[in-house]
């Protein structure tokens, strides 16, 4: 039997979902992280606890929320609390094992930008801004980042540090409760911070992707590990669960007029 066909977005979500371990408490950003975190819950980590910044804790949505405040999240939650409480009692107090984030830009030290492209005073593109990300990046035990791999997103220096990885100089995490980015999953590769320098280093490639393609999609001189791992391709079951989730989601969002 041949391997099932899949898209680069599908392998990104599936590899990201495999990072969550059963029973972990995960603070989920909307978009790509929400898709991967719910895929994990529906496949490899059924008892993962998902928290959204809307105050929905232990939620098990049947379809992906379009916004972080969809009714589905509240209806399927173990408990619902206010926004001040979710950030203070649950995130800041250290009850979150994993933060799951995306961004418009990332640099070699895992710092994330979701604020502006260009200068702050005269932005080329005004992005939505911080939301819950800075404190998730600071206080979650570790941070999983996922974003599509392009030269525009993987940049030498982010235009704005919205959320701290290891700081602009890679100097570290002093003053932060959590240990920072542990892994970055893209549609091409897997990157991890070097244990000494903290610089993001390619440690894995998705099947069929070569190192040159990853380098050409990165805005800095990318470090590559000696012992590169080739990602296990998505299984038929993983793909079926992901596609089912996305189909249910599309139908639900179109119907809610």
């Amino acid at each position: 039997m041949g391997e099932p066909a899949y898209t680069t977005d599908e392998i990104m979500s599936i590899v990201a979902s495999r990072q969550l371990r059963d029973g972990q408490v995960c603070f989920v950003g909307i978009g790509l992280p929400s898709e991967a975190a719910n895929l994990a819950r529906l496949s490899s980590a059924p008892d993962v606890v998902l928290i959204y910044e809307s105050g929905t804790i232990g939620t098990k949505p049947d379809v992906l929320p379009l916004s972080i405040g969809d009714g589905e999240l509240a209806e399927q939650a173990e408990l619902v609390v206010g926004v001040p409480e979710v950030f203070a009692y649950w995130l800041q107090a250290g009850r979150v094992d994993v933060g799951f984030l995306s961004a418009a830009q990332i640099d070699r030290f895992g710092n994330l930008n979701s604020t502006v492209i260009g200068s702050y005073e005269k932005p080329g593109v005004r992005l939505p801004g911080a939301g819950g990300a800075p404190e998730i990046a600071s206080s979650a035990g570790e941070v999983i980042v996922m974003l599509r791999h392009t030269k525009r997103s993987f940049v030498e220096e982010v235009d704005f540090v919205t959320s701290v990885g290891f700081g602009r100089d890679g100097g570290g995490r002093e003053g932060h409760l959590g240990s920072g980015p542990s892994i970055v999953i893209t549609d091409l590769a897997v990157l991890e911070p070097d244990p000494k320098t903290r610089e993001l280093t390619v440690t894995g490639l998705h099947p069929g992707v070569d190192v040159d393609t990853v380098r050409d999609s990165t805005g800095w001189n990318l470090a590559v590990a000696d012992d590169l791992v080739i990602t296990e391709p998505p299984t038929g079951e993983e793909l079926a669960i992901l596609r089912g989730l996305k189909e249910r989601t599309a139908a639900a969002h179109a119907a809610q007029a």
Partner: protein, 289 residues
């Protein structure tokens, strides 16, 4: 004490040019009908405060109601950009817009401080971010442990407007589901207006996280069923996701936005808006445009 009133009278009485106003609701229970009424009454020079400006402030900013925006996440949730907000920040259209941005945790701490009557809130946040030098935050030392923490100034709006599911006949407010920051920002405000889905004999929660705002913490109550559209009111309405998607088309283009606002907000009351929603005509400009 919460006086039952019409929405137009409440906005006219409480919201004045130059006021600092918070129309809150974290994706759920956003007081859209009240925002429309602010636009109809041509309020100007407002400082608009909200964690997520959402379509409600995109409409108010695009119509020139705002001088300043205080916020923490300015996107169209699940869809993309708020184009009227971006046009104001990037191109000063329809006028310059001062912005003051925070993180959600920082805004929540500011609201909680406001509700507590304290001058500032404290959190572990902002450390190492570029927000630290761009916004209203200071580092302080804990007098007990010496730990370095972030202080953010309290927010006490002149007027807070929220939408809730129920009011009883005495004006007590019942609210449930995702209650976001509404209790804090209501208790922080100098005046509070609540629009409600239903007026009932006894408050009856139909979902988790039930909270009550006693009548004596509220100034005005207006009965506005479906007043949170296109967001939702758990137990009464569902989120209109196609509307949020449509807004991306309408708000992208200045003249289309102006035409849409004139047709569906300025030339009708909220019942007229709902009628256009129910017969589907409210979506027409987006598909024709």
């Amino acid at each position: 004490m919460g006086q039952f009133t019409s929405l137009s009278d409440a906005i006219s009485d409480l919201v004045y040019d130059g006021a600092a106003v918070a129309l809150e609701g974290f994706t759920h229970l956003i007081p859209f009908a009240a925002g429309h009424e602010v636009i109809r009454q041509s309020k100007k020079e407002l400082t608009l405060i909200r964690l997520t400006p959402d379509v409600i402030y995109d409409q108010m900013i695009g119509m020139g109601c705002a001088r300043k925006l205080v916020f923490s996440w300015g996107g169209n949730p699940g869809v993309g950009s708020l184009h009227r907000l971006r046009d104001a920040v990037e191109n000063a259209h329809p006028g310059p817009l001062e912005i003051e941005e925070h993180s959600h945790a920082g805004m929540a701490a500011r609201y909680s401080a406001g509700a507590s009557g304290l001058p500032f809130g404290v959190l572990r946040g902002y450390l190492g971010t570029d927000l630290e030098e761009r916004t209203n935050v200071a580092r302080i030392e804990c007098p007990f442990t010496g730990e370095s923490l972030s202080a953010v100034p309290a927010i006490n709006p002149d007027v807070t407007v929220i939408h809730a599911q129920q009011a009883d006949r005495k004006g007590n407010i019942g609210i449930w589901g995702i209650t976001g920051v509404q209790r804090e920002i209501a208790l922080a405000a100098r005046a509070v207006l609540v629009t409600v889905e239903e007026i009932v004999d006894d408050l009856q929660p139909r979902g988790p996280n039930f909270a009550v705002l006693p009548a004596w913490t509220v100034d005005a109550v207006a009965h506005v069923p479906r007043g949170s559209h296109p967001s939702y009111s758990m137990g009464y309405t569902t989120r209109d996701n196609p509307f949020y998607t449509m807004w991306d088309v309408i708000s992208r283009d200045r003249s289309l936005f102006d035409d849409w606002m004139k047709e569906y907000i300025l030339s009708r009351d909220f019942d007229g808006y709902l009628a256009a929603l129910d017969d589907g005509s409210i979506l027409e400009m987006a598909s024709n445009g």
